[in-house]
Amino acid sequence: MSKGVFSPKTWLLLAAAVACMAVAPQFLSRFYTYLISLVLVTGLLAMSLNLVLGYGGLYQFHHAVFYGVGAYTFALMRVKTGLPSIWAYLAAPVAALLLSLLIGWICVRLSKLYFGMLQISLGSLVWAIVYRWYSFTGGDDGIHGVPIPEALSSIDNAYYFTSAVTLVCLFVMYLIVNSPFGRVFQATRDNPERSEAIGVNVKRQQLVGLMVAGFFAGVAGSLFVTIEGSVFPDMMFWTLSLEILIMCLLGGWFSFFGPMLGAAIVVVLRTVMGIHTEYWTLILGVMLMLLIFFLPEGVLGYFTARWGSRRRAAMEDL
């Protein structure tokens, strides 16, 4: 980390990307602006999952529940209280963080499939409560017409807000992954016994990792409500969690930006295919099968492996 966060070339690329994103709404129709916002939110969600899945090796099978709780917290704060919206934006990630502390604390005692299954059952419990608590969460109808702050009510402004928050989150996530904490976290993935032996508290490390991932999922939840204006229990159903897992895998769960690419593929595919056919999950399913057979490292993982052996080496160091 001695030569700064990024190399000058990366800064240049980043500046170009930000500039493109800044002018994009001037050229694109409302629909595409909305679509990009949705890709960014979903991508943030997938990348937050990958913090624990790719970097921590934890089978976080029910990540959507933190996303959903973030979204519901935001919506309920807006609907049930008269507090300024900034409180809702702060409460959403905090609620998701607290939930991941609770669920993580129960789950970290287990590993791999057991971890994942216990998490699915805890997450399903949360889902079942939200699904049935009509008087508070609106039950299976969800909450529609959540009041969005005046300044963010147009899709362009919501887009700028979403991209700004997403960029900041990605930057912070990048710093976390490359921090001493992130390095140790990856060590616990690669060799938990040895990490334990050199004095790392593996379970605590994993718990903190889960909380960080939950926090960013909560941010993504509040952003989703900002662009969509509604919440519904499907946001925390387990099928969405597996879909997020697919995004990580599709893009490449051993690369930092892979999940964002995976999210873009799935969201765009769903939206575009959804216009032409109602059988888009069939296409997604077949794609996933082909992927597992031929590109087990994901799309981005595949290309980084082909293009740069140096970057490849760097990735393996991570």
């Binding site: 089978y59 129960i106 005692r109 287990l110 791999k112 499939l113 057991y114 299954m117 216990l118 699915i120 059952s121 805890l122 399903s124 419990l125 079942a128 409560i129 699904y131 049935r132 608590w133 009509y134 008087s135 159903f237 387990w238 099928t239 597996l242 897992l245 697919i246 895998l249 109602e278 059988y279 999950t281 069939l282 997604l284 399913g285 077949v286 996933l288 099968m289 597992i292 087990p296």
Partner: protein, 297 residues
């Protein structure tokens, strides 16, 4: 939110009997999942899709043949059809993936779930179907002055038969013993000259047959609809987990917990009845994280 102020013993008994019938279905489906998980180490997500296909197939066969015989044929034909589908899937694709990581296998089966759900939509459409019972199984018995549907009693007979059959198959037959050995040490079993690949295929097909059987049995009791797969698979997975991965008796125990908490939950807090089984699962897992009975892996 309404609390049931006074829960009568009659109502409780009736709910327990209903819960036990539901337990039968859950057990049949979960035991198939458990078998596949225990022997092949595949967390098979499309097990729920096979259950849904079983229900739709049973409907189609029963309607096609018609009359009381139609239902009887459907009960046999639907699981066999599902078994055939699973044979194709296993021989075509799965047998090449056994060495992969669990996460990959899980996602691969999830991909199949996505494909199957759309295929069912393509074949049967989006409307829900309902199947009526043959006259012999309609109506109800009176037990302790309580009406109890005949079909539920029929289910209560089928459950133990399946449980015993599975126990016999895995513990007393040659293929069962080979399968258990292969799940522990695949290479060694292969080295003594047994074609492990086909043993795994047989176990997979039996497991999937059970999913289809569960679907066919449930068909007359509820609407046959898209989305059946989502509901059942998560329940089946949780049952397998709380019972202990791969343990058939664990699946029975888990199904009992799931079926009974659901049925009794309706008496206590009707609106939150679906929360009870999940809460029970969480409580079990907090105290016994690896399940109630010994897991096979």
């Amino acid at each position: 939110m309404e609390f049931a102020a006074h829960v009568s013993w009659e109502a409780l008994l009736q709910q327990v009997l209903v819960g036990l019938s539901r337990t039968t279905i859950l057990f049949i489906v979960a035991s198939g999942l458990s078998l596949v998980l225990g022997v092949l180490r595949i967390p098979n997500v499309f097990h729920g899709s096979l259950y849904m296909i079983g229900a739709f197939l049973a409907y189609s066969v029963a309607v096609f043949i018609g009359g009381p015989a139609g239902f009887a044929v459907a009960l046999l034909a639907a699981p066999l059809g599902v078994a055939l589908i699973s044979l194709i899937v296993e021989r075509g694709l799965f047998c090449r993936l056994y060495e992969r990581e669990h996460l990959m296998l899980l996602l691969f089966t999830f991909a199949f779930m996505l494909v199957f759900s759309d295929l069912v939509k393509l074949v049967w459409g989006s409307d829900y179907r309902s199947l009526s019972l043959p006259p012999m199984l309609q109506g109800s018995f009176t037990i302790l002055n309580l009406p109890f549907p005949r079909y539920n009693l029929f289910l209560l007979l089928v459950g133990p038969v399946v449980a015993f059959g599975l126990w016999f198959l895995t513990n007393k037959t040659k293929i069962g013993k080979i399968a258990r050995a292969a799940s522990v040490d695949r290479e060694m079993v292969g080295a003594v000259g047994i074609n492990v690949s086909w043993v795994f295929a047989a176990v997979f097909i039996i497991g999937c047959f059970l999913a289809g059987l569960g679907g066919a049995l449930v068909a007359p009791t509820q609407n046959i609809t898209q989305g059946m797969d989502h509901a059942i698979i998560i329940q089946a997975f949780l049952i397998v987990i709380i019972g202990g991965l791969g343990n058939i008796w664990g699946a029975l125990l888990g199904a009992l917990i799931f079926g009974l908490t659901d049925a009794i939950g309706i008496l206590i807090l009707p609106q939150f009845a679906i929360v009870f089984p999940y809460a029970a699962v969480v409580i079990v897992l907090i105290f016994r994280p690896t399940g109630l009975l010994k897991a096979t892996w």
